[in-house]
Symmetry: C2
Subunit: 571 residues, 2 copies
């Protein structure tokens, strides 16, 4: 019952959970008219801590806590942050996998008025130091396994003075300083310095920053993408509406929370009062175990995550006995993946977005009339990036270089541009890059797409990935799709390589399915049956593909090999 979390107020009066939530509301909105309240994800947790006080909020390994406890830990953390000198507008950084502390950060940072900087844990020490310095984060919370990344660069840090270590893995010795120097505090000890009820809630404007997410930065330095309270609130509602997350849902954490704040699901899943299932390392065995044991109803992950799950020996024999919806983005799901997903019993939802759009901005909203279509046709449709979700609304166009809408003919290539509440406020302390990205009053995605007569968009390539061969444009994605139709191919990446005659020609990197064998010649023959000859790769290289922490193929790495010695800029 909620009663057990009742606390005396300043006059010693016992106030209820509902009364305490209303107090946070009053502090957030004290200067506003009665008909206005600030849009902020803070209220999601406050509401769920009343409505779902006793319900499982967070499940992690053999730990579990309910929404009342989730709120208490968040309030303690916010209170501890303020005591540690964190004031509204200050940045605090996190370096952690999808553990409960990361979820807590998504509410405690805004509650304290701080701006969350969740750093990609696959970066190297120098990259991490760059982000800490660029964001000016005063405090860093790091997982004990990752804290050692800080040791070599701790002297270079210009603003970060306080360190909190989450001792999540028991193997860690409690006496050893993982930072190799700086003084640090244990996360649970740090929480203990806070109070169950954080009183100093301040938020000037719903358009104030809630987080800064650094892009992976394949060219130049990473840029800090600013999210606002309003944008986070609205996109969180958008993504849960899109996937139909409800209070009975069990959401499995695969997409890292340091990636676009986990596509806004830390906030959305909490809003719905659903259960967060945290996993430190989401390998196929762990995912399968969670699906079985925790009856996972939703997760998000790159197609490569889905592929490795569905191709795992243990998954092949397994058939789901409950509904499961998996959202995927980054690259379109292949027909084979959709088929394998259906066999497994999961529904795959294809979505699209960028760090600059709070994660998912569009999805392939499924129409009832498509239900009865053949797999191949369903797969073709599912590969579309689709339409803006309800909260993205009308803020998407496909335009030519003069910002004119391209015709909805499924052929004319244009750039996807977006605007609205779930487009970033700008790049942190980078007005030049912001102005460039926002030219013409729209955010330029750099993704080249066609608009189908149905109104659905389909990305044909990254602007920088397009191959220009003998004056013809070749979409690397089109070639990759053709390669993936080959029965032996698991994954493929196509890049442009220099060619004396044509300028550029396509080259394919291919990973075969386990136990399969084939030849370059066979692959090329197959392509020639499916594609115009000029689109076919000239060479095929077999082997694993280099990938980013979020499962995207690092094409720039492939390109570097082939373009070494050439003048052309490596993207």
């Amino acid at each position: 019952m909620a009663t057990k979390t009742r606390l005396p107020d300043s006059e010693g009066q016992i106030i209820s959970a509902a009364g305490r939530a209303a107090r946070v509301d009053e502090r957030l909105n004290h200067a506003l008219a009665v008909h206005l309240s600030k849009l902020t994800p803070i209220t999601f947790l406050e509401r769920s801590a009343v409505t779902f006080a006793d319900k499982a909020a967070v499940v992690y390994e053999d730990q579990q806590y309910n929404y009342a406890e989730f709120r208490r830990r968040v309030h303690r953390l916010a209170s501890a942050l303020r005591r540690a000198g964190i004031e509204p507008g200050d940045r605090i950084a996190y370096l952690a996998p999808n553990i409960p502390a990361m979820l807590e950060a998504h509410f405690a940072a805004p509650l304290a008025g701080a701006i969350l900087v969740a750093i990609n844990i696959r970066l190297n020490s120098n990259e991490i130091a760059y982000i800490l310095n660029h964001s000016g984060a005063k405090l860093l919370v790091a997982d004990s396994e990752l804290a050692s990344l800080l040791a070599p660069v701790s002297a270079q840090l210009s603003a970060t003075r306080q360190f909190v270590i989450v001792r999540d893995t028991p193997a860690e010795s409690p006496h050893q300083s993982p930072l190799g120097g700086p003084v640090y505090e244990d996360y649970e000890d740090f929480l203990a310095t806070g109070e169950d009820e954080f009183e100093d809630v301040r938020l000037d404007d719903e358009n104030d920053a809630i987080s800064v997410n650094y892009t992976s930065g394949t060219t130049g330095k990473p840029k800090g993408v600013i999210y606002t309270h309003r944008g986070a609130y609205l996109n969180a509602l958008g993504v849960t509406e899109m996937l139909e997350v409800q209070s009975r849902s069990n959401y499995l954490w695969i997409v890292p929370m340091f990636h676009c704040n986990g596509w806004c699901f830390p906030w959305g899943v909490t809003a719905m009062g659903a259960t967060h299932i945290c996993v430190r390392r989401p390998d196929p065995e762990k995912i399968l175990e969670a699906i079985r044991k925790r009856r996972v109803t939703h997760f998000c992950g790159a197609p490569t995550v889905l592929t490795s799950l569905l191709h795992h020996p243990a998954a092949r024999a397994y058939r789901l006995d409950h509904p499961l919806r998996a959202a995927t983005g980054g690259s379109p799901p292949s027909p084979a993946l959709i088929r394998d997903g259906e066999r497994f019993g999961m529904e795959i939802v294809h979505l699209y977005g960028l760090t600059e759009t709070y994660g998912p901005f569009t999805f392939c909203e499924w129409r009832a009339e498509w239900d009865g279509k053949e797999l191949a046709e369903r797969a073709r449709i599912k590969a579309l990036q689709g339409v803006p979700h309800v909260l993205s609304g009308t803020g998407l166009r496909v335009v030519d270089s003069q910002m004119r809408d391209v015709p909805a003919d499924g052929r004319t290539l244009g750039e996807i541009v977006m605007r609205g509440n779930n487009v970033m406020k700008g790049y942190y302390q980078d007005p030049k890059a912001t102005a460039e990205a926002f030219r013409g009053g729209w955010f330029h995605s750099g993704d080249l797409a066609v608009l189908h007569p149905s109104g659905y968009v389909e990305i044909r390539d990254r602007k920088k990935d397009i191959i220009i061969s003998g004056g013809e444009n070749i979409s690397t994605q089109e070639v990759e799709k053709a390669l993936c139709d080959h029965a032996d191919v698991l994954e493929a990446a196509v890049i442009a390589v220099p060619d004396g005659k044509w300028g550029e020609v396509p080259k394919a990197y291919v990973t075969l399915k386990p136990g399969r064998e084939t030849t370059e010649r066979d692959i090329l023959e197959f392509c020639r049956q499916k594609l115009a000859h000029f689109k076919c790769p000239k060479t095929v290289v077999f082997g694993p593909l280099p990938k980013t922490s979020t499962g995207k193929v690092k094409k720039f790495e492939l390109r570097e090999r082939d373009w070494a010695g050439y003048d052309k800029k490596v993207h």
Copy 2:
């Protein structure tokens, strides 16, 4: 396909449905930063006209049109309104049942920047004239069956100069002026003066008014409750989330759209791309027919509507073969109603709100742990008004006269107060009433409730309905609930009547189930077994209950009879 709705732009270029939606977006947000778009329900229709272009948007009798056509009619109407001299900020009034023209008004009025005043069609001529004059509506759209209400008062109208008649019923003679004087235009002719694409979209601020809804005004003159674009947008998302309306849903129109703008469902159902099923008169036969033929998945209605549906002879034998969720409010559903609903195969959701809160503000959010409970216990829980829905968030308190939160003990009575984005902006041109309603920075509902330890609120009475008998408070709702537990009772209303000894005592008005008979003595005996003696009615009157157009019992009418000759103010 959306292609068939493509139109040439001003330069003769063919632009797509998606391109046109983005143009509306640009006009709405032209002066805003890239990361901001105004929250307005306009974008719901624009998005659905792309995503669900070919899907049934509105079904009415043997008519049906898709979202592309719905948008076209709305744009034509907005364009016709502008041509007729309606400028942003002007009020336009409607007098119509739940026909498609009413749905169109909910998008065309805001698109043209006008403020919609949907008038209760059960009012008399003078009341209608009062609202037209108070709101200063320049134009009135009236259903031909209702237009005759205007005839006796047309000379009294101070601002309304233009009349448009919807000829929905074929019996109407086309040559007769239903207004008995004023010149009028036929609705379809009026639409024909507009263009398929309305170009002059203007909206200064998302907090500008979208509609004014006049309260039923049982005391004094009706007050005009102002809704904003932002509030309508957010509450529309709240109510669809609450009922889980999705693109495959079929929503049946029972709650009148002139009542809190149909609880915001005109906007919410459109946002989801679901299908609106319009019905002119939602009698039980019509409702049943729609449920069967149109596979209705959702509807909203007062408990009396549900009762008359479930007690209809044709419903008794009928069992649903598809999911149906019915939301009810105004008074709590009785255990018998919940049982009958379950037998029929529908899930009943209990919600609560007022005109001043855009309709539903809270609902009894169902927890999985309650699934296995006995009917009586489930019914007891379902009767709670519950918790704020996700978009209402944290904006609700139960407070004593000093605005202190009451303890969550399920016993201490306090008043429900609310604030936030789905609380009205104020009463139209009535700053005094607004200030009174908003005293202390919260909207005062006038509803007396307890807060349960679970955090759920339960209304015990309207402030003005409470009976004070010998110094004891008696909740009329508690007595009514006890009466409804009697096997022969269909409905009951309890009021205070004057008493020489006790000051006030309860008196019951009871309607029996068809074919049932019982005596006053039997009813009183039954009450004494269930309630403290002082709470039992002293008299029981049998017969039908007088009701408002929205199905609420008109207690003031009952009171008038009993309080005639007394000093006490008739509420």
